[in-house]
Amino acid sequence: MTAAQLVSLEGVSVSFRVGWKRRVAAVNEVSVELRKGEIFGLIGESGSGKSTLARALVGLVPISAGRVSWADGRTVTPEARSRTTATQTRSQMVFQDPHSALDPRRTILQSVREPLDVQGGVPHAERSARALEKLELVGLTAEQGRRYPHQLSGGQKQRANIARALVTDPELLICDESVAALDVALQAEILNLIQDLRDRLGVTVLFISHDLSVVAHIATRIGVMYLGEVVEVGTAAELAARPLHPYTEALLSAQPMPVPSWAQPRDRIVLSGDIPSPISPPSGCRFHTRCQYAVEGCSIVHPERDSRDGDRSVACIRADELVLSGVPVTILRPRIEEVR
């Protein structure tokens, strides 16, 4: 555990029972670390296990193997199944649907204050003040705090959810598809807000999404998940410019870009087949069934994630030979606003 680490996951697996006998490993031996003050983006499609991993971090589901070690010395193992409130106050989660996350019978202020009521620790008299403080932080007024959820827009509700997540001053803020249900303009506001909050509060953010553009924009480092495993980790810039794992390449290629036709990538990689079911994952490398670079060994050997130079790591036996294409430079170049 280095000084910069907030939490480290080693070989963490989360499995659930399906039917009577079978188990499905939603998360399979994931080892990854989160550093203080960073925004770590976790990207994956259905069945990738990213949401399950987040829930395991917060303590909503128990882990079935491995260990989670926090900077302050707390560790979570499969045996220590007690989901202590201590864990839950240090990390908080903002979910996808802003509407169902808020109790329709409570005012916004009451909802934002509730974690303090549950946790205790903060004297009664201070709680409303703290909640108001957080509301202001996310750009909501005290007047809006007195309203009920149905009187607020989707974007405002999501801000309220973020305020509620921050009211206990957590070390880790997990955003699980928190902008997926919002329109593009609103999404931009919330993304800006999250960046601001990280800058002002120094909170670490785990940002989970299936939308690569969103993650690539906001995250410092990115982890790519496929069928319960982390297949590549790197900084957003590196990953986008030169991915090391074929799945990352496919994700980047699949992402539609709002740019004119001459700037569109020349060859789009279209994967074949459906995402396999996590209940019976493919043998060897889980991605080999859809990978255009797969060779015989891929169906036999299960690749471990090896470090490359710097912060990068990838789980692919052919990583050294393959030269994969990232996002074209024309699209990558940051835009400059020009208004007359």
């Binding site: 499609e45 259905s46 827009s153 974007g155 329109d183 593009v184 303009a185 999404q187 931009a188 506001e189 993304l191 800006n192 960046q195 299936h210 939308d211 690569l212 553009s213 969103v214 690539a216 924009h217 906001i218 995250a219 410092t220 957003a236 810039a237 986008a240 496919a250 994700l251 980047l252 290629s253 699949a254 992402q255 539609p256 870009m257 709002p258 740019v259 004119p260 036709s261 001459w262 700037a263 569109q264 789009r268 990689i269 279209v270 994967l271 074949s272 459906d274 995402i275 996002v327 024309t330 699209i331 990558l332 170049r333 940051p334 835009r335 400059i336 606003e337 020009e338 208004v339 007359r340």
Partner: protein, 326 residues
Amino acid sequence: MTLLDVRDLSVTFWSGTQPSPVVTDVSLSIGEGEIVGLVGESGSGKSVTGLALMGLHDPRVTEIRGSAVLDGRQLVGMPERGLRKLRGSSISMIFQEPMTALDPVDTIGSQLTETIRTHLRLPHAAARDRAVELLERVGIGDAERRFSAYPFQLSGGMRQRVVFALALACRPRLVIADEPTTAVDVTIQAQLLRLLTDLTEEVGTAVLLITHDLGVVAEVCQRMYTMYGGRVVESGSVDSVLEVPKHPYTAGLLGSIPRAGGEGQRLATIPGRVPRPGSIHEGCIFEPRCAFSLPECAVGEIPLEPMGDGAVRCIRASELTLAGAL
């Protein structure tokens, strides 16, 4: 050759004596075999427009005015019997949510043959063969066996392929695709978009692609219309709109889309909220949120003026230089 010509289409929902004009004076045109995008956020009226063209609104509470001519036939005001003949055969629709779009108690095969037999009057065996062929064409492997499968046995991506098959079964002239790939994973979306472009090219079908995703529009559409507050605010070829948008809303949308390489930067945002569908305005509907608004913008009707290879609904369009996608 213009296939669909829509002029001043307006859709008003009535609740009791209260009218809600959710779509106002929308005009668009689609040529044979063209893929045209209709872009907007929620509440823009884009889906309502699509449903109006199909005649799928509840006639008891919906008032549709204007003109929509498909292949020489006027859709607005057409009696239900006539519309029914066209639906599924000349004009068909793809919906957003694959998990609920199919009938849960019928096999996918019988749902396909039903539409084939309704419109093409083929005998049972021939209809079945055609359905199996369709399933294969949309990429459902083992089509013979899957013919007797029920929707719940298929994944979301597979179900959406069946929905595509349903829409294209009778070789329609126009397919209205309402957010066809929004509910599926991005790698599946790539497959489905490729499928859509291939199929429609094969059959010669035109597509009205309704979406909020400018990236999708950029990938598959040749021309596009931007909708805001129930009106078309900009139109043109996709390339020109994305390079040099003419309307502040389009520019605002483009600026707020996150992209790789932008980390650390703040996204441009559009202050305020979208107007509630059906609310009535004076002047430009975007004016309250526009960074370039002047007092003149808040009065009178703002007309849609031709500009470049399209049109724009903004009195300042010729003066402004707006940032594009790059």
